[in-house]
Symmetry: C2
């Protein structure tokens, strides 16, 4: 249960509060690709990522996905407990992008803490603000950056995360991250290939000119 100490407020809780958390938290392992949270259908609670990688995304009525942000080791998934916060009126999905170990904190336990402790209440505020900020960054990308730049940034991020330049990724998957459609992504990737930036394989993309891709990607950060 040492994962609980990832909570920045852990040391500021009372003995009793620490014990309540310890007694209710459970460790789970989710296989790559599995869903931890499914929109408004559930309010499962918070997840502390112990190991692995989660993806928080939305899905439109037509089935189009858009990655909002990712969560890594020591990150906390709050929106899977959205019912805790009045006024939160949108649905997200959370899936494991790798085999992922999480510590699960039940909704009711966390809610009680928020009502008892100013520190927990204000920390929750901070956590939501950081997710809000990531979404605002994404909004700026979508409104103001071109897709070529966004694809390059996504490929470089993937390559950094995996430590590889050959990425096992379908065009569909890229489209799902960027809120685009497969056809548009395919067109752009072929353009990149003609340009010598990468090489397309069956279900894979090999990055050839990392320097130029990085330069293109960095245009999305300006």
């Amino acid at each position: 249960m040492e994962t609980l100490t990832y909570l920045p407020f852990w040391n500021k809780l009372t003995k009793m509060q620490q014990e309540a958390l310890t007694a209710s938290a459970r460790e789970f392992t989710y296989q790559k690709g599995s869903l931890l949270h499914n929109g408004s259908l559930d309010c499962v609670g918070l997840f502390l990522v112990k190991q692995g990688q989660l993806r928080v995304f939305t899905i439109s009525e037509e089935g189009k996905e858009l990655t909002l942000y990712r969560l890594f080791e020591r990150d906390i998934c709050l929106l899977s407990a959205s019912c805790i916060i009045r006024g939160l009126q949108f649905d997200v999905m959370v899936s494991a992008e790798e085999d992922t170990k999480v510590l699960h904190i039940p909704t009711a336990v966390y809610q009680k803490l928020m009502e008892e402790s100013i520190i927990v209440a204000n920390y929750t505020n901070e956590l939501m603000a950081s997710h809000f900020s990531e979404v605002m960054w994404l909004m700026d990308q979508i409104m103001n950056k071109k897709l070529d730049t966004r694809i390059a940034a996504f490929l470089m991020e993937e390559s950094d995360l995996r430590g590889e330049t050959k990425l096992l990724l379908t065009h569909e998957q890229i489209a799902n991250h960027l809120g685009s459609v497969r056809e548009v992504v395919t067109r752009m990737l072929k353009h990149f290939q003609n340009d010598g930036l990468l090489k397309l394989g069956r279900g894979s993309i090999e990055l050839l000119d990392v320097e130029r891709l990085n330069k293109l990607a960095s245009d999305s950060l300006r």
Copy 2:
């Protein structure tokens, strides 16, 4: 200072807290078009809208605006005090869309309340969640709805707010609300005009077929 009772937690504050708020809050009137808050340059504090209408928007490096949401009587503007919340890392602008009377609460006074009162801390959470939700709704619109639908929805909203079918609005203003550019909006409005939905004048738009506009607009709410 009765405007302070708009704060949902007013009755749950201590006498001392109420007095501190009363002593520090000031009423201001902003003329239509004036700026109340200018991104990261200031952290002016919260505004309670007493009368009028505020617009909260972002502005890209290239100067493209996008309306995030609007605030009306009894609404509270939190993002103008963004420095209160750690983790909030984006800038917004706030302007008066009408002559607007607000009650201003200084940053330091509100921050002290958040640190003292669980109720205020959790209410702030709720307030941020509702703004976050509006931005997520907007994101869905941008990603998944066509511009014709969004323009129709915007015109109908304006018409409802003003109680008029002849709107004094430039194409530039509409573009600024929707994060688009003037040329694209003009093209769509001309298309609407040819379709008999509205009539374009010099700096004005007269809605002719409110029923069909409403139908088109309601596609954005599905």
